[in-house]
C-alpha cells in the first residue's frame, strides 16, 4: 500500500487551527503599531512559550513539546501569515538555539538550557555571522581561547536576531584560527556572561518588530562545560543547524505568500474598476492563479523537506524549499502589491508591510545564491 499522504495528520491539523486562532486573536491586534514603534512582542512570546511553540522540537524530557518537523513548519507558517516578525523570533529561538543544543549538547547543557527555552521563559539567539563574514562563514574572526575552567571569547557577531532579548546564544568562534572551517567550535553562551554586550539595534527595511543587533564579545567568560559538541566541530554544527533552520524560513516565506494571496483575492473582489470588480478581469485572475500555484509548490516543497529532515537528501530538500519558497514569496508580494495599485503603496496597507518583510527571506539563513551552491553540490555529487 502507498504510504504517501498530502494531507496533514489530525494532530497537525489541530495544531494548525489552534495556532491560526492564536495568531488572529493575540498577534494580529497591534501588529501595525508594533512595526511602527519597533516594539518587541515579549508578552506574545511568553504566551507562545506556554503553548509549546518555542520548544517545538525539544523532547518532553527537557520540557519541550516534542513535535515533528512538519508540525513545526505548519506552526511557523501560521504565525508568519499574521506577523513575520514574530515568526522569525520564534524560528530563531526554536531552530538555531534550542535545536542545536538539543541535538549536539551534553546532558548537562540540555538540562540547564533547554527547559527555560522550551517554556518560553528564555529566548534564544545564534551568533555565526560577523561584519566581515556572511556567506563565507568560515572566514569568521571571533576567537575562543581556553583559560583554566573557562573559555574566553573575543569578537563581534553581526545581525543577531533576538539580541538583547535572548537569554541564551549559540555562538561560533575559532579555537584554531589557522585551521579554517576545522578550527571553528560552538559554544552555549548565557546572555549574562561577563564580557557580553549587545550593540545598537539595526534599523531594517522590514521585520521591524523583531530585534536585530550586534553581539560584542570582549573577554567574554563562559564555563568550559558550555562547549557544544567537540572542539573543531563548530562548522559542522553550524551547517547542520542551518540545514534545519532553512525549513523555518521556508515556512515563514510560505506564511507570507499565503497572506499576500489572501489579500490580493479580497482586494480584487472588492475593488471596482471599469464597472466590475477587478477580480473579473482576466489579467488579475491570471496573476492570482499564478500566485496560488506557486504557493502550493512552495508549501509542498517545505513540508516534504520537513518530513525528510536528517535523511540522505535532507540538506538538498531543505535548500530547495528555502530557495523556492523565498523567491516565490517575493514574487507573490510584488504581484499582490501590484493588484492593490496605489492603495498597496500606502504605508497603511498590510501588503506593503509584507512586501518589506518578505525581502529578507532570500537573504538570511543563507542567500538564494548559497542555496543554489548547496543544491548544485548535492546534485553533482549524485
Amino acid at each position: 500500500m502507498p504510504t504517501s499522504s498530502f494531507a496533514l495528520t489530525a494532530e497537525q491539523e489541530l495544531l494548525r487551527s489552534e495556532v491560526r486562532r492564536f495568531a488572529e486573536e493575540r498577534i494580529r491586534p497591534g501588529v501595525d503599531e508594533r512595526e511602527r514603534t519597533h516594539e518587541f512582542p515579549a508578552d506574545i512570546l511568553r504566551e507562545m512559550g506556554e503553548m509549546g511553540l518555542l520548544g517545538m522540537l525539544v523532547g518532553e524530557r527537557y520540557g519541550g513539546a516534542g513535535f515533528d518537523t512538519v508540525s513545526y513548519v505548519v506552526a511557523v507558517e501560521e504565525i508568519a501569515r499574521v506577523c513575520p516578525s514574530v515568526a522569525v523570533t520564534m524560528s530563531v529561538s526554536n531552530s538555531v538555539c534550542a535545536w542545536p543544543i538539543y541535538c549536539f549538547g551534553s546532558d548537562e547543557l540540555r538540562e540547564r538550557f533547554l527547559p527555560p527555552l522550551a517554556a518560553g521563559v528564555h529566548l534564544g539567539g545564534f551568533g555565526l555571522t560577523e561584519p566581515g563574514s556572511g556567506s563565507d562563514a568560515a572566514a569568521m574572526r571571533t576567537t575562543a581561547r581556553r583559560d583554566g575552567d573557562h573559555w574566553l571569547l573575543n569578537g563581534e557577531k553581526a545581525w543577531i536576531t533576538n539580541a538583547g532579548f535572548a537569554a541564551t546564544y549559540v555562538v561560533m568562534a575559532k579555537t584554531d584560527p589557522a585551521a579554517g572551517s576545522r578550527g571553528v567550535t560552538a559554544f552555549v553562551v548565557a546572555a549574562d556572561s561577563p564580557g557580553l554586550a549587545v550593540g545598537e539595534p539595526e534599523t531594517k527595511m522590514g521585520l521591524k518588530a523583531s530585534r536585530t543587533a550586534p553581539l560584542l564579545l570582549t573577554d567574554c567568560r563562559i564555563p568550559a562545560g558550555n562547549l557544544l559538541g567537540q572542539v573543531g566541530e563548530g562548522f559542522k554544527i553550524a551547517l547542520a543547524t542551518l540545514d534545519h533552520s532553512r525549513l523555518g524560513i521556508a515556512a515563514q516565506a510560505v506564511g507570507i505568500h499565503q497572506r499576500a494571496t489572501e489579500l490580493a483575492i479580497s482586494y480584487a473582489r472588492q475593488r471596482v474598476q471599469f464597472g466590475v470588480p477587478i477580480a473579473r478581469h482576466q489579467a488579475v485572475q491570471f496573476q492570482i492563479a499564478q500566485m496560488a500555484t506557486e504557493l502550493e509548490a512552495a508549501r509542498v516543497l517545505t513540508r516534504h523537506a520537513a518530513g525528510h529532515e536528517g535523511e540522505h537528501h535532507g540538506g538538498r530538500l531543505a535548500s530547495q524549499a528555502k530557495l523556492y519558497a523565498s523567491e516565490a514569496a517575493n514574487r507573490a508580494c510584488y504581484t499582490a502589491l501590484q493588484i492593490h495599485g496605489g492603495n498597496g503603496f500606502s504605508d497603511d496597507s498590510e501588503i506593503s508591510r509584507l512586501y518589506r518583510d518578505v525581502r529578507v527571506t532570500t537573504i538570511y539563513e543563507g542567500t538564494s545564491e548559497m542555496q543554489r551552491l548547496v543544491i548544485a553540490r548535492h546534485v553533482l555529487r549524485g
Binding site: 500500500m1 499522504s5 512538519v70 509548490a297 523556492y324 551552491l373 553533482l380
Partner: protein, 380 residues
C-alpha cells in the same frame, strides 16, 4: 503530509525504468525523426500492465494507485515523450472515463481490452473551431432507431492514426451547446470512420496525431457513454485526470533533460576545467532540480487528490500549469548548458526541448489552467 514511495512503487519505478531503457530509449530518436507510431511499444507496455495502470484487475488493469500511474508516465517520458503521451491518452482519456461513466457491458467489452493493452484508444473532442472552447464543437449525433449517426471531424487526435477505439464527443442538439454533448465509444473500423493524414509537428512527433472524419458513422446506442447531454461533464472530468498524466509527462521530459545536462556539464571542459565547476552552470542545475522536485510533488499531490477528494480540478490545473511551464524552462536551460552541441540532432536535448512545448498546450493550455484555477479560487 508525508511523501514516501512504497516498496511496490519503488519496484514499479525500477521495472518501468528498465523497460524504458531497454525498449523505449533505443528507438526514441528514430521515431521522432520518422514519425513512426510506436505500436510495438504500446503492445509491450500493455503486457506489463501499463496500459491501464489504475484500472482494477477485474477490468484488465493493473489496479495500482494514482501516484504509481504518475511514476509510469514520468519514467517513459524521461526517455521518450511521444511514447509517454500514447500511454497517457490510453490510460487517462479513454480507460478512466469508461471506468467512471461506462456501463458494465461497456466496461467488459471495451475497457478490458484497452486496459490490458490489446486495444489502443484515442480521445476525440477537439475540432478545428473548438479547442479551448470545447462546447462549440460541431460534430453531430443523430438518433436513428437503435443507432446514432455521427457526422463531423476532429483534429489533433493523439493515437488517431492507430487507435482501435475512439471516445467521441458529438452533439445531439447543437442549440443546447454543452448540454447537447454526448459521448460514444466507437470502433475505428466502422464504415464512415476515416483517419486523416499524419500531422507534422514541432515535437511529440511519433504520437500518431491525425484528423478524424465521421461520415454517416453509425454507432449502436449501447455504445453511448452516459446519458445524452452528459458528454461535456464527462469530457471535463476526464481532462482533470488527463492533466495529471500530462504533468507527469512534463516532469519526465524535464528530468530526462536535466540528467543529460548534468552529465554533459561534468564531461564538457572549457577554460581548463569541467563546466560544472562554474557557478553559472551550477546555478542552472540547482534551479532545474528544485523546480523539477516541486513539479513532481504537485503532480503526485494531484494524483493523490484524485483518489481522496471529490473535486481535484484545482490541484490538477495547478500541477499542469506549473509542470508544463517548468519543463519549458528546464529543457531550455538544458539545451543552453549543451551550447552548440545541444542545437544539433547529435544530442537528445533538442528533442526534449521541442517535446516540452506541447505540454503547455494540450489537455488545456496554460491559459485555460489559469481560468480553472482562478474560478476555483475566486468563484466563477
Amino acid at each position: 503530509m508525508h511523501v514516501q514511495l512504497s516498496e511496490e512503487q519503488l519496484l514499479l519505478r525500477e521495472t518501468v525504468r528498465r523497460f524504458a531503457a531497454e525498449v523505449v530509449a533505443p528507438r526514441a530518436r528514430e521515431i521522432d525523426e520518422s514519425g513512426e507510431f510506436p505500436r510495438d511499444f504500446f503492445d509491450r507496455a500493455g503486457e506489463l500492465g501499463l496500459a491501464g495502470v489504475a484500472v482494477p484487475d477485474e477490468y484488465g488493469g493493473a489496479g495500482m494507485d494514482g501516484v504509481s500511474y504518475c511514476i509510469v508516465v514520468e519514467e517513459i517520458a524521461r526517455v521518450c515523450a511521444s511514447s509517454a503521451v500514447v500511454l497517457s491518452v490510453n490510460n487517462s482519456l479513454v480507460c478512466d472515463p469508461l471506468l467512471a461513466f461506462g456501463s458494465e457491458e461497456q466496461k467488459q467489452r471495451f475497457l478490458e481490452p484497452l486496459a490490458a493493452g490489446r486495444k489502443l484508444g484515442c480521445f476525440a473532442l477537439t475540432e478545428p473551431d473548438a479547442g479551448s472552447d470545447a462546447a462549440a464543437l460541431r460534430t453531430t449525433a443523430r438518433r436513428d432507431g437503435d443507432d446514432y449517426v455521427l457526422d463531423g471531424s476532429k483534429v489533433f487526435i493523439t493515437n488517431g492514426s492507430h487507435a482501435d477505439l475512439a471516445l467521441v464527443f458529438a452533439s445531439v442538439d447543437l442549440e443546447a451547446r454543452h448540454k447537447g454533448i454526448t459521448a460514444f465509444i466507437v470502433e475505428t473500423d466502422r464504415p464512415g470512420f476515416r483517419r486523416g493524414a499524419h500531422e507534422y509537428k514541432l515535437g511529440v512527433n511519433a504520437s500518431g496525431t491525425t484528423e478524424l472524419v465521421f461520415e454517416d458513422l453509425r454507432v449502436p446506442a449501447a455504445q453511448r457513454v452516459g446519458e445524452e447531454g452528459m458528454g461535456f461533464k464527462i469530457a471535463m472530468a476526464t481532462l482533470d485526470g488527463g492533466r495529471v498524466g500530462i504533468s507527469a509527462q512534463a516532469v519526465g521530459i524535464a528530468q530526462g533533460a536535466f540528467e543529460e545536462a548534468l552529465a554533459y556539464s561534468r564531461d564538457r571542459r572549457q577554460f581548463g576545467r569541467s563546466i560544472a565547476d562554474f557557478q553559472a552552470i551550477q546555478f542552472y542545475l540547482a534551479d532545474m532540480s528544485t523546480e523539477i522536485d516541486a513539479g513532481r510533488l504537485l503532480t503526485w499531490k494531484a494524483a493523490w487528490a484524485k483518489e481522496h477528494k471529490k473535486r481535484y480540478s484545482l490541484e490538477a490545473a495547478q500541477a499542469k500549469l506549473f509542470t508544463s511551464e517548468m519543463a519549458q524552462r528546464v529543457t531550455s536551460k538544458a539545451l543552453q548548458i549543451h551550447g552548440g552541441y545541444g542545437y544539433t540532432k547529435d544530442y537528445n536535448v533538442e528533442r526534449y526541448f521541442r517535446d516540452a512545448r506541447i505540454t503547455e498546450i494540450y489537455e488545456g493550455t496554460s491559459e485555460i489552467q489559469k481560468v480553472v484555477i482562478a474560478s476555483a479560487i475566486l468563484g466563477s
